[in-house]
């Protein structure tokens, strides 16, 4: 196992098409890092640069104490799980898992022992003779993980490995991935666009947007103190409300809003959509007459609020209040968080 | 469409393409270049002296009645082969698409002539139509038709058309059948609900939808008639009688190999090359259009 560090890593295809604009991060040995961002933000490219499948235009990537910029993927001591699994369709599960080991010239006994162990962990022992097409989506996913595990690499790289699974399986595999990481303790980089995956799996996460790292931190820290409006809007469902106020942006999470009497109203929302979810109720609307808002703007801004299920939500005017301790402030020009 | 770059090696890709490129250069480019070179030269009867004559060989060709006649023969021949072949195959494919029972058996019984060499197809039909002993000749005589393709140019043309079409039916049939089977049933059913009978449905719905296949087969059949029928002709009429069946390719062969007129034969080769290039361009234009569907 090894630490990984990215030093001002850049990627450009042509002089005017840059897709990664200098990302730096130190990943400790054994850490589970999630790279989160919308599609096209460069998160997969970044991972593929660590894997050695994309060249590094500028900057430096080290794994352990080696700079790997110019090393072939096979020499980086990494293993990768692909989004579509990339199982060799004509090989059995056993052959798929052992292929990399055979190429490395391990002894037959050693290979069989490693494959058996991985198959046990992943509950694949019954399927070792099958071809990938005879497996379910979840089983294929496990084979792809098995192929990475048997290699016993320094670093695991996951490229949206759960996105082809249905919702239920995804939850289950999330749990298994966590268990696996606890058990093996291998440094892992995990790319996803799914914030729930990121929140549940990550020890630390890196939120990317348009080729830049917007914020790096532990999930709850990122949630509690989003560094930019992008992060504030990307994490949390529904996302944080951003309301123009006094030349700044006031951020308040939907769950921090509560209904109140007219007199205490800090926001007055014209509700036009109600989604009762059982445990709570989501209401959506826009800020109505400026009167209830202290007369200082924000009229027309969309607002979502998560209300307790006991609240009798109706369309129409809804006065809301919040705790000032839960408020975030952002600079509208740069999108950056304003502290204090 | 391109792959993401995956492998890097300074020498391996060259080693991989080397065998094909070597064969291509030695047996395709070098001879083709020589054909172009010879086409500008005139050789004396003994092949001892050659002189550069520019476009003279080409000029001579286009003044040569035989050569112009060969163009006409080729045009008539390819038109007949393509039209008759496509018509018969389309009829058979439409019928095979209609029947529920035995469709596979019919397909099997119709595809195998593809395996017959053109020259063998020529021999088979030449035997059936042999002027004195042919069984078809005998039947035709019963109908009062005097059949002798060795003397009658039109009959000779008919013979090579029949032999060439016979061999090509299976190919056209397979493509038409595939085309018909790819037409959604719901379209036919919609037309039936609109009140169109089977014949009307065929001409107003099915045939227009098959037009890409038909056009494709038209090009392929013309190419086939231009080049692949060499064996049919050489095994039967050998261009005769009186050049009535001498298509362009046969004339290249005849003038070059039998008459040993290198300059003229090479000039004809060059003209044929332009025809092939034109046909290839037509074919690729068509494929591009097909992609856009």
């Amino acid at each position: 196992m090894a630490a990984v560090s990215l030093r001002n890593v850049r990627k450009s295809y042509t002089s005017d098409l840059q897709v990664i604009h200098g990302v730096s991060m130190d990943i400790a040995d054994g850490e589970f890092i999630v790279i989160l961002g919308p599609s096209g933000c460069g998160k997969s490219t970044l991972l593929r640069m660590v894997a050695g499948l994309e060249t590094i235009t500028a900057g430096e990537i080290t794994i352990g104490d080696r700079v790997v910029n110019n090393l072939e993927p096979k020499d980086r001591d990494i293993a990768m799980v692909f989004q579509n699994y990339a199982l060799y369709p004509h090989m059995s599960v056993y052959d798929n898992m052992s292929y990399g080991l055979r190429i490395r010239g391990l002894s037959k006994e050693d290979i069989s022992q490693r494959v058996k162990k991985a198959a046990d962990i992943l509950e694949l022992s019954k399927f070792l003779d099958r071809k990938p097409r005879a497996l379910s989506g979840g089983q294929r996913q496990r084979v792809a993980m098995g192929r990475a595990i048997v290699r016993e690499p320094q670093v695991f790289l996951f490229d949206e490995p759960l996105s082809n699974l249905d919702a239920k399986l995804r939850v289950q595999m999330r749990g298994e991935l966590q268990a696996l990481h606890r058990r093996l303790g291998t440094t892992s980089l995990f790319v996803t666009h799914d914030q729930v995956e990121a929140m549940t799996l990550a020890q630390r996460m890196i939120v990317m947007n348009a080729g830049r790292a917007e914020q790096i931190g532990a999930p709850l820290e990122v949630y509690a103190k989003p560094a930019t409006t992008f992060v504030a809007g990307f994490i949390g469902s529904p996302p944080m409300n951003l309301i123009p106020r006094d030349g700044k942006l006031l951020g308040i999470r939907p769950e921090h809003l509560e209904p109140c009497g007219e007199a205490e109203a800090m926001l007055s929302v014209q509700v036009d959509l109600i989604e009762p979810l059982g445990a709570d109720t989501l209401v959506y609307g826009h800020i109505g007459d400026p009167g209830g808002n202290g007369g200082n703007g924000g009229a027309g801004a969309r607002v979502a609020a998560r209300l307790h299920a006991s609240v009798d939500a109706r369309t129409g005017r809804l006065p809301l209040r919040y705790d000032t301790g839960n408020v975030h402030w952002f600079d509208p020009a740069s999108g950056k968080r304003i502290e204090g | 469409m391109e792959k993401r770059v995956v492998f890097r090696s300074a020498w391996l890709p060259y080693a991989l393409v080397a065998p094909q490129i070597a064969i291509t250069v030695v047996f395709f480019f070098w001879p083709a270049a020589q054909a172009v070179w010879y086409s500008f030269q005139l050789q004396d009867a003994f092949g001892l002296k050659t002189q550069f004559v520019g476009l003279q060989n080409f000029a001579a060709l286009f003044k040569d009645g035989n050569y112009l006649d060969s163009f006409r023969v080729t045009a008539v021949f390819s038109a007949l082969v393509a039209f008759i072949g496509i018509a018969i195959s389309l009829l058979l494919a439409a019928m095979a698409d209609r029947v529920l029972r035995g469709a596979l058996a019919y397909k099997t019984l119709l595809v195998w002539p593809y395996a017959v060499a053109p020259a063998v197809a020529g021999v088979l039909w030449a035997f059936l139509f042999a002027p004195s002993i042919g069984i078809v000749t005998y039947v035709l005589k019963g109908f009062g038709v005097d059949w002798n393709w060795i003397l009658d140019g039109d009959q000779a043309m008919l013979l090579i058309v029949i032999a060439s079409v016979w061999k090509q039916i299976s190919y056209n049939f397979l493509f038409f059948l595939a085309g018909l089977q790819s037409i959604p049933r719901s379209l036919i059913e919609a037309a039936a609900i609109d009140g169109a009978g089977p014949t009307r449905r065929f001409w107003t719905v099915v045939f227009p939808l098959l037009s890409p296949t038909t056009f494709f087969l038209l090009v392929v059949n013309v190419v086939y008639a231009f080049f692949d029928t060499f064996g049919v002709i050489d095994a039967t009429t050998q261009g005769g009688p009186a050049q009535a069946t001498q298509i362009l390719v046969y004339k290249v062969y005849h003038d070059g190999v039998k008459a040993a007129d290198l300059g003229s034969s090479s000039a004809q080769s060059v003209i044929l090359m332009f025809i092939v290039i034109a046909l290839t361009v037509v074919q690729f234009r068509f494929i591009e259009r097909k992609v856009q569907y």
């Binding site: - | 792959k3 065998p19 047996f27 395996a115 035997f127 039936a192 290039i277």
Partner: protein, 282 residues
């Protein structure tokens, strides 16, 4: 079938049966002629039922050949045809899959140039470069040899494009997974690409087997030695003159022998045959 019209269905069957008979008729007559004595065939009309000379005629063509024109034994010619029909597809598949691999999986200078070089061969069929190609073969001393019969025919743009097209459909991630697994390019080619190409190779093999077996102009040009004749050439060389001067019974027996192997390949491997036919034309 949209509506049930027994009359139409009957008509369809009638047309198809007529088509099948029309297609089969020449071959039936050929077979009948191959089982009679020459005298029987020269009668007008010739018999329409098989005769009793099957063994005699076939034994003679296989071992001794005809007495007029080419005297090559069909057994030798069948061997020559088989060599052509096997070496051409195998050679074609080999060189085409390698060059397609290079063109799809590598980026190198001259790549597009090589791609176009291969493409242009589409426009240079043997028929348009007869004499100069013959000269090249003669200069290389390849007349009357298996190498001369096969090597010039194994370069082909269609086969290369077919493999290229197939490789484009192979997910990029497979090559990347192999790279992460530590496979070298050739190892990936052997362990992953080759097994996945099996069906494409089978389809191509069937089409090219028929192509090789049925070659006519090429062997006609470069074989003068009877021992190098292919079956198709042999038949043509057995025809020496007018109707009555040819040994039609033996010619027809040889024709049956010439048709049998490719016809069997088409019928037994129909699935690959249709796939090959349709895909090489895309």
């Amino acid at each position: 079938m949209v509506e049930n019209r027994p009359g139409l269905t009957f008509f369809a069957h009638a047309v198809l049966v007529a088509g099948v008979l029309l297609v089969a008729f020449p071959v039936y007559v050929t077979f009948v002629a191959s089982t009679h004595t020459l005298e029987a065939i020269l009668q007008v009309p010739m018999p329409l039922w098989p005769g009793d000379r099957f063994w005699e005629n076939y034994t003679q063509v296989l071992t001794a050949g005809s007495t007029k024109g080419s005297k090559a034994a069909a057994a030798t010619m069948l061997v020559n045809s088989t060599v052509m029909a096997l070496v051409i597809p195998l050679g074609k598949i080999t060189i085409s899959i390698l060059s397609a691999f290079a063109i799809v999986y590598f980026r190198f200078p001259l790549r597009m140039f090589i791609f176009w070089m291969i493409f242009v061969t589409l426009m240079l069929p043997v028929e348009v470069r007869i004499i100069p190609t013959f000269k090249v073969i003669a200069d290389l001393g390849m007349l009357n040899s298996y190498a001369g019969l096969t090597v010039p025919l194994i370069a082909s743009a269609t086969a290369t494009f077919l493999f290229r097209q197939f490789f484009m459909t192979v997910p990029d991630e497979l090559a990347e997974a192999a790279r992460v697994d530590g496979a070298s390019p050739m190892r990936f080619f052997r362990d992953v690409l080759l097994p996945l190409s099996k069906t494409t190779m089978a389809a191509l093999f069937v089409i090219q087997f028929i192509y090789g077996w049925n070659q006519y102009l090429w062997p006609l040009l470069i074989t003068t030695d009877e021992s190098m004749y292919t079956t198709v050439i042999g038949i043509k060389r057995m025809i020496v003159g007018g109707d009555a001067t040819n040994e039609w019974n033996l010619i027809m027996a040889t024709a049956i022998l010439a048709m049998l192997p490719p016809a069997l390949v088409v019928l037994l491997m129909q699935k690959w045959f249709v796939k090959g036919l349709v895909e090489t034309e895309k």
